[in-house]
Amino acid sequence: MSTGYNFAYLDEQTKRMIRRGLLKAVAIPGYQVPFASREMPLPYGWGTGGIQVTAAILGPEDVLKVIDQGADDTTNAVSIRRFFARVAGVATTERTDEATIVQTRHRIPETPLAEGQILVYQVPIPEPLRWLEPRESETRKMHALADYGSMHVKLYEDIARHGAIATSYDYPVMVDGRYLMRPSPIPKFDNPKMDMNPALQLFGAGREKRLYAVPPYTPVKSLDFEDHPFTVQQWDEHCALCGSADSFLDEVITDNQGGRMFVCSDTDYCGRHRAPHDVSSAP
């Protein structure tokens, strides 16, 4: 752990300010709470929102896991994990079930989360109505009046053009039957996992300066049409490494001849599926 920094990098006043925002966000599930986002030592778009939320809620006893597209070993995940190991000295892990805080970009872990765990999302654009209405004053009013009907125009357009709802990530959801929420660019495969999840889910958008939250056991419903119900992606293949048939698969090009394989995007899940007897060796 390096000295010269406050615990978890941010100063105490900033952390307090973010916690106040988070409390409000938890109290009103799905509502976007403005907060005074700070400059962080990484560029916008790399997880400045998520990293501030993590810094604000991190305690010395916490065990942190960071994933990027499901993987623990990608640049973004490795850097953020190492950042908190250095400035907070907290224990880190790659195992979902051992972590108390999981910061994520683009995925929800395949291993079901438990009560007491916190999932922190990095959010690029928090406003689900933005494509529909460019004025912030108007989108806020639409949220206030729960004026969400036009959101279905996007789904209508998908069906008219592609025959099915083609939106496959960042799929809009209704939280607790009240607020329309953008679940950050997770695949819609993960949307059902948000529903009634026992873990606390926190969302931080650094550039847009917004926090929002889904408290444990909150209903989260994906938008759909009566005659085109919400469905998730399915694959014909199984994971080439662990043989899993029910996890989210990435297609990986393996050579210049067009060879390809499908592997789990969640590396922790995949690794433990491969070696069920040796649970200590994550990939």
């Binding site: 009907g149 036009s150 279905h152 125009v153 357009e157 008219a160 005659d227």
Partner: protein
Amino acid sequence: MNTPLLRVAGLGRSYGARLGCRDVSFELYPGEVIGVVGESGSGKTTLLDCLSGRLEPSAGTVEYLTRQSEMVDVYAMSEARRRLLMRTEWGAVRQNARDALRMGVSAGANVGEPLMAVGRRHYGGIRAEAEAWLDQVEISTDRIDDLPSTFSGGMLQRLQIARNLVTHPRLVFMDEPTGGLDVSVQARLLDLLHRLVVDLGLSAIVVTHDLAVVRLLTHRLMVMRHGTVVEEGLTDQVLDDPHHPYTQLLVSSVLQP
């Protein structure tokens, strides 16, 4: 016919020291079409915006008789309720169709949006209704998935009308519905509007500076100048026997081909 659909009393709107419109009072009965004419800058559009719930007046009241036969003050109700009213009982046709339409999504989505906005969630049903309305406004149904940007000016205006009528409004506000269209397209659009208004028994308030539109569509006419109504009466009466000097000027300045 004894209760008015819309009752306007002492309506006025000023922009700081500048006057938009002043002391406008009238009643609109079900099935009636009222025209508002006047030169540009005479307060026609300000008046229409105030009437249609988009611009809060600085004086006076606008009362509306809902489907539940309840007289409501449009600006005294909550904004949520006003939006619902505008969405379910009113329509608004703008002069520039591009302002009212969503140019980035297909014609079908444009017509279907008001339905989705009031809570319809059956794709097949929405699409069928959009198709029926495109047909009503004489747009070929095989263009349902085309973007409005590929439509001509006249088609855009008709698309806008379909989008407005799909929720079966009882009152439609039109601001220069034929503005910017060439004469033959104007004539077709007027025929269409006339047919729709008669078939659906719509009430409407039409703002225009085109006396031909007024003559064809409206029953009663209000002439505005400098923000006030200078003359009103039955359309034919006002046009054939104008009393106010400004109305006389207006009527006499129409070119006779």
